[in-house]
């Protein structure tokens, strides 16, 4: 907060009014509505609704399909997070080292950040296509009869590859800026003490990158959970069938295709709690880091 502030009886409220009204109508109201509906059973023909307590939650959690989706989401998120973080870290470490052509490398590795997930999804579908896709040809050459959209594992594989590809640039940007903020003096001192550059990386540089890595971990989990919607929607081409979907995609399917309002809302509430937990962890991390510096 500022030391010097204005005081005016009405003005601050007027300044806040546009944002508050949008937040109220398009954020708080829907969020409250999701929580309310999750306790009700909506009549499919629109004849009112009955309060059913936690039944929707019980139904959701006990459904075998839900646990299957939850498992897939867990594995998918872990894979996307792990691969996009480690590939980006490798590239950032290399980009931090080279001097010649550093800015060209940086540009070439970060620009994909601008591509929307569904556009990446469309490119992926074409590249993995059984008839015209070069990646499919490559898989065939390696003896893998890849069938995206038919085979559960192959579909999951394609989704993961596309999601990782799309996420590498943002991780790269953060890792590179983290690496560049490691003081030169620290690096030089380490270089005097230890000859092996690999060991120097794991014992000196990597711990210094820890705050960035923690932050990115949360960002990547959030990305894998939510922002991959466009990729999944394109890979599945709107026909999920027996293919893998994430929890967020299931909220969408059950709510808009299945017309199961209560169930979809209960799933929304479960996701809200998940996001809330992630945010609390994130704030803890940030606070801890403030104490460091």
């Amino acid at each position: 907060m500022k030391r010097v502030q204005f005081s005016h009886p009405l003005m601050p409220y007027m300044l806040l009014l546009p944002q508050l009204s949008i937040v109220g109508v398009f954020f708080l109201w829907p969020a409250a509505e999701a929580i309310r509906v999750s306790f009700y059973l909506e009549d499919p023909f629109g004849f009112g609704s009955t309060f059913v307590g936690l039944d929707n939650f019980k139904d959701v959690i006990s459904a075998s399909e839900y646990s299957r989706t939850a498992w897939f989401t867990l594995i998918f998120s872990s894979a996307v997070t792990f691969f996009s973080l480690s590939i980006a870290l490798l590239l950032a470490v290399k980009a931090d080292k080279v001097i010649k052509g550093a800015s060209i490398h940086r540009t070439l590795l970060m620009w994909v950040y601008a591509i929307a997930p569904p556009v990446a999804g469309l490119l992926g579908v074409m590249l993995f296509d059984q008839h015209i896709g070069p990646l499919n040809d490559l898989a065939h050459a390696l003896g893998w009869n890849m069938q995206i959209g038919v085979n559960y594992f192959d579909t999951a594989f394609a989704m993961t590859v596309i999601a990782v590809w799309k996420q590498i640039p943002i991780n790269f940007i953060f890792f590179l800026s983290g690496l560049q903020s490691v003081p030169k003096s620290v690096q030089e001192a380490a270089a005097v003490d230890c000859r092996s550059s690999l060991r120097r990386f794991w014992t000196v540089t990597f711990p210094l990158l820890a705050p960035t890595s923690f932050f990115l971990l949360i960002i990547n989990i959030t990305y894998a959970l939510f922002d991959t919607f466009g990729i999944i929607d394109l890979v599945l081409k709107g026909e999920p069938g027996n293919n893998p979907v994430t929890l967020v995609y299931k909220v969408f399917l059950d709510g808009f295709r299945g017309n199961d309002l209560g169930g979809s809302s209960a799933q929304s509430v479960i996701l809200m709690m998940l996001v809330f937990a992630l945010t609390v962890v994130q704030f803890r991390m940030i606070e801890r880091r403030v104490h460091y510096s």
């Binding site: 003005m11 300044l15 806040l16 590809w165 939510f226 909220v251």
Partner: protein, 280 residues
Amino acid sequence: MKHTQFWDHTILTFGALIMLVPVVYALMTSSHDAVSIYKDGLQLSPGGHFVDTYKQVLTEAGGFTRSVTGLTMLWNSLILGLGFAFGKIIISMLAAYAIVYFRFPFGTFFFWIIFSTLLLPLEVRILPSYEIVQGLGMANTYSGLIIPLIASATGTFYFRQFFKTVPDELVEAARIDGAGPVKFFIDILVPLSRTMIAAIFLIMFVFGWNQYLWPTLITTDESLFTLVRGMKQILQVWIGAQIPDTNQAMALAVLAMLPPVLIVVIFQSWFVKGLVESEK
């Protein structure tokens, strides 16, 4: 030393190629004709139908979406990007100004209400959001497309951080000179924030342009489709066709990514700074 530098460059070049090649495929394939792509697969070298393909997807209503041309979709994307960026900047600057520069009852409470929007992404409340916006008669309108997306507080957060770095002496000086809050805002704070506004504008434009889920729900009328929103329809028509117009699908994908990619490449340092700053 020479040896390790070689490997560094090799790894970086390999990484850059992995990023680049899918898009090169899209661009090159869009310059071939449908039949040859059907026969030979996706292309990595330029063909002779570049102008034809783009003319067709931009001006002809047939092909993919049957009732809407690529130009209309491009226009809708532009409206979404611009509307979102302008709306967000105006609203969040005003809110951040109130939060940082005024002391008033319930100030902290309102602050937390606004920032609670950072907790829950749209994805976890899609169904009720859709029903409320539809109930307000805003389905298939530009305002229904844009305004609900502005609810998140990212812009307010950026401006709050920036305003906090503006020296207190400026407010003191303004007050000594008898300038009120309106005059201070317009004559001092807005000019000071010019670079910040421009950076946030571009970040928000790209963000708005790339929206998918919300446009998918709220626009069912094809004349309101954005390019990114249209991706699934483009793909569905592509699957359904005898000899799919892969060149046209790729051309629309190229159009959908071109403006954001250009902006990000040209204003790279702003983006990097904007992204990294948001972490703090």
